[in-house]
Structure formats: C-alpha cells, structure tokens
Point group: C2
Chain length 417, copies 2
C-alpha cells in the first residue's frame, strides 16, 4: 500500500504492460535457468502464447537464448532457456583505501577481466588511472557490449549527480569522478557508496540467489566494517537513499560515550568510534601499551594517507588468527560494540537479516559468537531476532557491488508508479 508520487508517476499504456511482463519473464529466466516457456507460463499465469512472444523479443534483444531441450514429462520435450550472459559486459570500479580494483563481468556477474593498483591519495591521479585502465580494457575487450561503469567509493556519494561529496579516508571533497569517467568513455556511469553498492550486490547476487529454494531477501541491512563503519539499507527489494542520497550513515549513530578512537566525523560517541577497524587498532595498541612493533598514527588530520591504519587492522587480524591473545581481545571487544549497533538496527528495522562485509569479516570465526551473544542480550525479548551473517560475496562484496550498479539495472523495474 503505497502513496503514488504524482510528480513522477507515469500512466500505464500498452508498452507499460509489455515492459512489466518482459521484466518478469526475464527475471524468471535469470532466477530459475534453465527453464522452459511452459514453466514460465505456469509460474506467471501468463498464457503460453504470451510467453512465446515475450521470449521472442528477449531473444531478439540478445538477453535470452535457447540451449536445447529438456526431459519429457510424458509429452513433447521442453525447449530450455537461459540468460545470454555474454550479451552484456559491465565494468566495476572498487576504490578501497589501499587497493583499487577494476573488473569486467558478464550478465551473470562472472568476472572476465581484472586489474588492480594501489589507491593513490591524489584524487586527480586516481581519476587518470581509472580512465586509463578502463580504456585499456575496452580496447582489449568487446567495447560494443559494454553497458556501463559502476563505481563503489568509501564515503559520502551523491548517486544522482555521480559525485563523491566526501571521502573521509583521503579527505577528498566533491570529486566528480562520474562526470570525468563519462566524458572520457561516453559510457553510462553509476557511482555509489560502498555499503549501498555491497547491499545491492547482496540483493542481486547474494545468498538467496545461490540457494534457489529460499525466498529472496528483500529487507536487510548491509554493514561494512573496515576503516570505518558503513551501512546500506535494502527495503522492499530496493536501496534506500534518503534525501540527497545521504542515507545509510548509521555509522554515526550515538551508542554511548568514551569510545577508544575518534570517528571519521570527529566525534567520540559514534558507533564507528566504537566498532570500526580504527577502534580495533586503538584497543590493540592500548592492550600492548608501547610494546607494539609498528607505530600507528592516530588519524585526526584529513588527507593523511593512512595506509598504516588500514594495514594495522589487517595486521591485527593476522595476529589474531595466529592466536595472539591481545589481538583476539581487541577484535572481540570491537565485535561487542559492533553487536550493540547491530541490535539497534534489528530493534528498529526488524530486517530479515544483517549482512556483514568489509575487512573485518576475515576474522569472522573469531567474532561471530561474541556478536551473536551481544545481539541476543540486547534485542528486546519477544521481538523476532534477525539472522546475522557474513557476506556471501567473498572478500570483495564492494567490488561485486560496483558491478551490480550496472547489472541490476538490466533486471530491475523502474521506480515509477
């Protein structure tokens, strides 16, 4: 039950009807491939004749293809259909504090080409490197099929204007990466915050997609824990962006006071100040009190390159996985506060699940029980408790997220009406 937005609502005409049904059929092919026309007709309650004409269109557009016939169930054998994955290439650009990864993938999210280089703290240099890499991939690949470039950034992004408003890690402001990339390549460019992008990837390529039996998750929150803490909210199968695209900054919610580190916004009582990689580093340092081999700058100036801080979270996780007690303690204490924030989200949203991504997930085995326990204790009794899980997208959910910014467009319905 939703209120119509009269400013944006589009009236239905014959083409609307067609577009809706084509999208539905395309999604059935994607989700249940291989599948026959008759199966689609049964599942959608469309007539077989209608499905046939729709499939004909989809084949003509190069999105669907026949792959021979299946087993007979007592009559004519069905003709099986699947996505024509090679029909579309997407480019994904994942800018993380230390490493920038650029890949191309097909419609199924299968990666075709991959490049990596260290992220520079100089925004102009980054713009150049990204453009160069994409151009090179284009030369070597099939440029005609490139549908667009998705860019995932660790900061505040205005998705509408494809502009990075503020990247705290490097202190970049108003980085117009979207415009630059578009001018250089003439491709569609979509830019978003890393947590939003990862949430989108989880929605379209995550757990639910893998386990065909389970329903697709449509309400969940993605929490990216690395240098900072970012959140991406998925509501009713859709990313929630809020005014000026600034939603999903739950990392800055107040959960107490006297945090071990400062937040990227300067406060000391944000969730991020308690539960980020930076917080873990601060705890580890305090535990080792001067004994630590590697000195770590407390980042309070913008524009510090900060590689050491990021390295340190990686380092702590390494030590913890090696069994070093103070590293384990630092991580578990961080996980406890992570749990408090997650409890807040669960209590407020009652989502189907909370998905954790980012550098911290490498220590998942060490922190999972602490996390579960904290949430268990904090969530109000009687309320349904949501599942908490590490991202199913491997170690780079944000990279998959960058691709999803382009790929999801091919299957999603428009926002109108």
């Amino acid at each position: 039950m939703r209120r119509i937005d009269l400013e944006k609502a589009e009236t239905a005409r014959a083409s609307t009807m067609r577009d809706i049904n084509r999208k539905i059929v395309l999604n059935y092919v994607r989700d249940r491939q291989p599948i026959s026309r008759a199966d689609i007709a049964r599942a959608t309650a469309l007539q077989r004749s209608t499905v046939s004409t729709i499939v004909e269109h989809l084949r003509h557009d190069g999105l669907v293809e026949e792959i021979g016939s299946g087993e007979s169930s007592g009559g004519r054998r069905p003709t099986l259909l699947q996505l024509r994955a090679e029909g579309v290439l997407a480019v994904g650009v994942d800018v993380a504090p230390t490493l920038t990864t650029i890949v191309t993938s097909d419609l199924n999210g299968q990666i075709r080409d991959r490049r990596e280089f260290p992220t520079s703290s100089n925004a102009e240099k980054m713009t150049e490197s990204i453009i160069e890499t994409v151009k090179d991939m284009r030369r070597r690949g099939d440029a005609r099929r490139m549908a667009g470039i998705g860019v995932s950034l660790p900061g505040l992004v205005d998705a509408a204007s494809s502009e990075a408003l503020y990247i705290p890690y490097f202190g970049w402001r108003n980085w117009k990466i979207g415009k630059h990339l578009h001018d250089a390549t003439n491709l569609r460019v979509v830019v978003d915050n890393d947590a939003n992008a990862a949430a989108l990837a989880e929605l379209w390529f995550g757990i639910a997609h893998a386990e065909a039996e389970r329903d697709v998750m449509r309400d969940f929150i993605m929490v990216i824990v690395a240098e900072g803490v970012g959140t991406g909210i998925v509501f009713d199968g859709q990313i929630y962006r809020g005014e000026r695209g600034a939603a999903g900054e739950f990392g800055h919610m107040v959960i107490g006071s006297g945090a071990p580190s400062t937040c990227s916004c300067g406060n000391r009582d944000c969730w991020e100040a308690f539960a980020s990689g930076r917080a873990a580093v601060a705890r580890y340092e305090k535990l080792r009190e001067g004994k630590q081999r590697r000195s770590v700058k407390q980042s309070d100036n913008k524009n510090n390159n900060g590689d050491e801080v990021e390295m340190s979270l990686t380092h702590i996780i390494d030590c913890a996985l090696d069994g070093e007690q103070s590293a384990i303690t630092a991580l578990q204490e961080t996980a406890r506060y992570l749990g408090i924030g997650i409890s807040n989200l669960i209590v407020g949203f009652s989502p189907e699940s909370i998905i954790i991504g980012g550098a911290l997930t490498r220590a998942w085995s060490l922190i999972e029980s602490q996390l579960q326990e904290t949430v268990e204790r904090s969530v109000r009794r009687g309320l349904p408790s949501s599942r908490i899980a590490a991202s199913s997208l491997g170690d780079q959910p944000t990279l998959m997220g960058a691709l999803s910014l382009i790929l999801a467009r091919k299957f999603a319905t428009s926002t109108a009406a």
Copy 2:
C-alpha cells in the same frame, strides 16, 4: 530500481493498466480538487478521451462527482470534479493509555461522529466496549457506506493477523482485537501500532497535503512520545514494517547507559528510558525530591494500571506551561535525549523530516529549541539536516492514523509488482 519479488509479482494485463490509471486519476482529483478532466489530461499526459472514460467509471463507483463549471480561459468552461467524500465512511479506533476514542469520517478525513471512554485495563472489557460503540454508531449512521475499521494501539502489533502481540502499558498479550471486531461487525478491520498509524496519517493527511505547493513527503519518520517512545518509518511513500511487522521499535535502541527510568522492555539504556514520558516523570520526581504532591509509582510490574504515570506527564506539562522551573527542566532534559535519538535517525536515514507526535507535543514551545540544538550539534557536519516538526494533525495524530488505515487503502496502489 527495485528487484521484482517473483513470489508475489503479478503480471500485467489490460485490467492492470486500467487500475493504475484509475488510481492516478483518483489521486489527482484528491490532491488538486476541484480539477477538470482537461487539467488531469494535461498533468498525466493521458488523452482527454481516456480521462473521460476513467472519470465515468469513478463517478459510477461513487468516488468522484461533478460540482459545476469553472472559469473559462478563452474557450468552453471546464467541468470541475471533486472527491465524493460521503461515498465512504471509515471507523477509527484509537486506544491510548487513558482514553479510547472512536470516530467515523468521510473520504476526506472529515470527522462525522465521535465517542470517547476511559480505557480499561481489562482487555475483554475493552473488546466489548469497542464493539458496542461501533455497533451503535452503525445503527445511527449509514451502515452501507462503512468501508472498514482502523485500530491504533500503543504496542507491538502484527498487522497481518490484526492481533496485538504485546501492549506494555497494560501488559496485554495476544489480544485478538481484529478477529473479534470483524466477527462482530463483518467489516474489514485493520490494526496497527500507533506510530505506524500516525505516520500513515501524516503521509496522507499531513502537512504536505495542506500546503498544496510543496511536494508530498515520501521519506520521513514519525516519533510518538507519550508513555513510551514509538517510531513509524515511511519510505518511498510506504510504511516500512519489517519481518513479522515488528519494525519501528527504535524506542529500544541503545543510546547510552544510566537512564533515569526503565524502558517498557526492562532495560535501562534504551532511548525510551531516556526520552519517554516515563523518563520525564522520573526526572521531575528527582528534581522535586519528595516535595511533589502526587506520588508516582515506578512502573516495573506489568499489568499495573499506571494511569497515574500518564497523568503525571500531563501534569508536568501543565506545571511547565504554568512556568514551574523543575517541570520545565525535566521536560527540556528529556528533550535533549529525544534529540540524541532523533540525531541517530537523521544520520542513518537522512529523511526529509522527523515528525513528533504524542502527549509531549503539547509542550512543543518549551522543548523545540532544545531539540533543534541537540540535533544540530550531533548530526555530522556536511550531512543535510532534516526538518523537525510537531505533527500537523492536532493533538490526536494516532486517531487520524486509525482512520488512515482504512482511508489510505482507497487511494494507495497495491504493493504488488
């Protein structure tokens, strides 16, 4: 850009097209009344002929009527259309801790009939009283036009089964008010949490509706502050309910420790424990230290009738409005913590605005600046700050909410596709 829910998606047929366009036209009539067919055609880009046939249907259904002709702009005079408000009657039941209000209204939300009685702490007695009142209203009114009964409750509600899972104020559990009301009246019954209901009212009958120029708010959060703290989330013109309808319990998010009162869930670090009417009462008591005329039970047992606690918030507000300093201080201190929670919501959602409702709003003039200031200080610099406003629905937003549960259905699009 949303992912299609294949389990629920309905394919488009001719009737889908018709239904969409009828809803759009109906909403134009509602929002811009009086309006002519030609104006609707211009605004929607539908052909005048199409608008004519749609309006014919809407008139036949008794939802729209002609009210004479308007001014000519150089040609034939337009025939003006408006909602036929008497076509539909809705019943709204607002169960608040002290008072239960039952009203009927027309399609425009104009109240026609009104009854009130003190809320009893006995659930069965309440069921009876409500049924009796509705039946009586039905006898005296035009029963044929009654479209349904909306019920707003201060607690955890499963909207799908129309059952109150838990009403902390009275300790009621699994109160099947929906089923009982439906069995007794054979009308459609919709039950929801008070904050959700009030949010729905704000969406359909709130500020934006009154000021025709401004865009309709489609992303905001309703915060109801009375005995406890409840939140209703509106996202993309739609109430967000979450798993098992348990969303919107941000009152139980952790924002610190050592609150002046306990939360209805028993914890002492929930937002509600810092910012509810109960918290204000505790602060006031402490400030007056035994001097207060009226002793107030600290409610920690369920099933305490608790009228006195609710009376006390009213009482404190009265005193504060009379200029009593300790009452003012207690309220402002409460407002400060209210502000912290609101900051969290703003930072996380970046909604267009936060709307405050409930008993506390009577003290709006005393707390507004404190609230604004706290939020100003807490919200991260650079992020857009949302507007904070008292509900525009008078002193009973939840009553309007109860009506909206039925009325909104007449104009809203279905969730499908």
